[in-house]
């Protein structure tokens, strides 16, 4: 692939190649959607391995949904607003 052949030059035009990588991955049928340094590990042979494919979407699905950005992770310092109200029954017991 063009991108693989050009990796030697990656340092010169990193942004361009990352963009190309995302486009090529899209065309290959899978979108990782969680590509970050935390999801690259160094194997026993010293080579990199890409892990955490649990947000991956096959591109044959709803393409609009695939483009949906991921939500940021919340810490407990943030306001947590995910709540629903359950009415307490008045005469049927809990």
């Amino acid at each position: 692939m063009l991108l693989k052949a050009s990796f030697c030059d990656m340092a010169e035009t990193e942004a361009e190649y990352i963009l190309l990588a995302l486009m090529d991955a899209y065309n290959a049928g899978f979108l990782h959607r969680d590509f970050s340094p935390g999801n690259i590990i160094i194997g026993v042979d010293g080579k990199g391995l890409l892990i955490d494919w649990d947000l991956c979407k096959p591109l044959s699905g709803d393409s609009e949904n695939v483009r949906t950005p991921r939500r940021a992770t919340r810490t407990v310092r943030d306001n947590y607003k995910i709540c629903i109200l359950i009415p307490i029954p008045t005469n049927t017991g809990f």
Binding site: A25, T73, Y80, K81, I84
Partner: protein
């Protein structure tokens, strides 16, 4: 009356329910910070009351790694994160549409919400639980909350001096089987012999507590992996709650990487094991081998429930999307080093290149 006296009086009121809850131990923990050694929080939590199961009472006052239920008291109605149901303008829809809410939008209310959320995060993060319950008491009112990886269900106020719902909740909780309380029964204690072998394989000393975790195998059997007990991090409960472990494979007697998470239970996102299978079938390089994977147990307890109640007529609307999650585990054949542990700049660049190749193919 000062706060200490308030806590003391209310504690004895809650403690009196022990007549109906023989399987629970109720402890006044208001003056004792959490001593859970597996808590990676930048602050100490200090719930007013901690409820333990009698068979897992740790012998210390506050321990979020063993607690069943935390109870928090507030002395001013203004500290209540919740209020009566009221109409609010929907922030994302033009045209003035109103929706029902019961969230109080003040700093004091948000502080309380953050506080009880931290308690839930500590429990869920340091234990293996599908869900937990907590109680918030504001003066003469109480609310029962149920937390899972999709969101939180909150009851209307219970006037506990007039209605018996709270006592009835504790009575039922005391009688409930562990799974119904939220305990993950697919996690066990390793045998002594297994623990010795696991410590050797994982290079763990005898002070590290271990758990034996079940992972479904492709042939409908189950594999067991032994790992160090998880550490709780300060993230809100909803989400995938991924926990990764270097683990000892009991049947193959080798170290592997095990991942415990709550996968998104939506049709267009595949379970991760299936993705690895497809990537391998396509000869994608720089992707580890998945040894086993699958959903944990049945969806009776190991699937989130909150997401199913959002459309109920009594449910208040929130702007947050509730995603259903399913409890999932997988084991990989390699325990990799973190990218930040690279030994040279050349190694880091080549590792990133390898990973991107894996992504492209």
């Amino acid at each position: 009356m000062n706060t200490h006296s308030h806590v003391h009086n209310l504690f004895f009121k809650v403690k009196s329910t022990e007549n109906f809850t023989p399987n629970l131990r109720i402890v006044n923990s208001s003056g004792f910070p959490d001593c859970n050694p597996l808590l990676d929080f930048p602050f100490k939590i200090k719930p007013d009351i901690t409820v333990y199961s009698v068979d897992s009472y740790p012998g210390v006052v506050t321990d979020s790694s063993k607690a069943e239920i935390f109870i928090e008291f507030k002395w001013k109605y203004g500290d209540d994160p919740f209020c009566d149901v009221h109409d609010v303008e929907h922030p994302t829809i033009k045209g003035g549409r109103t929706v029902k809410s019961f969230l109080r939008n003040t700093k004091a209310a948000k502080d309380t919400l953050g506080q009880i959320t931290a308690y839930a995060a500590a429990q869920l993060g340091s234990q293996f639980r599908t869900h937990i319950y907590s109680i918030l008491i504001v003066k003469d009112t109480a609310r029962i909350l149920r937390w899972d990886r999709s969101g939180t269900l909150v009851t209307e106020v219970i006037y506990y001096n007039k209605a018996d719902h709270l006592v009835e909740f504790f009575r039922r909780y005391s009688e409930a089987p562990p799974e119904m309380r939220g305990k993950d029964m697919s996690v066990l204690d390793p045998t002594l012999a297994e623990a010795v072998k696991a410590r050797q394989a994982l290079n763990l000393d005898s002070t590290v507590s271990l758990v034996k975790i079940t992972v479904p195998d492709t042939s409908n059997s189950q594999l067991h992996f032994i790992a160090a007990s998880p550490r709780a991090t300060p993230y809100t409960p909803p989400g995938r709650a991924t926990r990764g472990f270097p683990a000892y494979d009991v049947s193959r007697r080798v170290p592997v990487f095990m991942k415990d998470s709550w996968r998104l239970d939506v049709p267009d996102i595949w379970p991760e094991g299936r993705v690895y299978q497809s990537l391998k079938a396509s000869s994608v390089r720089h992707v580890p081998d998945c040894l086993s994977s699958g959903d944990i147990s049945s969806d009776k307890y190991h699937a989130t429930k909150t997401c199913h109640y959002t459309e109920m007529p009594w449910a208040c609307y929130t702007t947050t999307h509730f995603t259903c999650h399913r409890h999932y585990r997988l084991a990989l054949d390699v325990i990799g080093r973190s990218l930040t542990t690279f030994q040279s700049s050349r190694e880091m660049v080549s590792v990133v290149r390898d990973a991107i190749e894996g992504k492209l193919l």
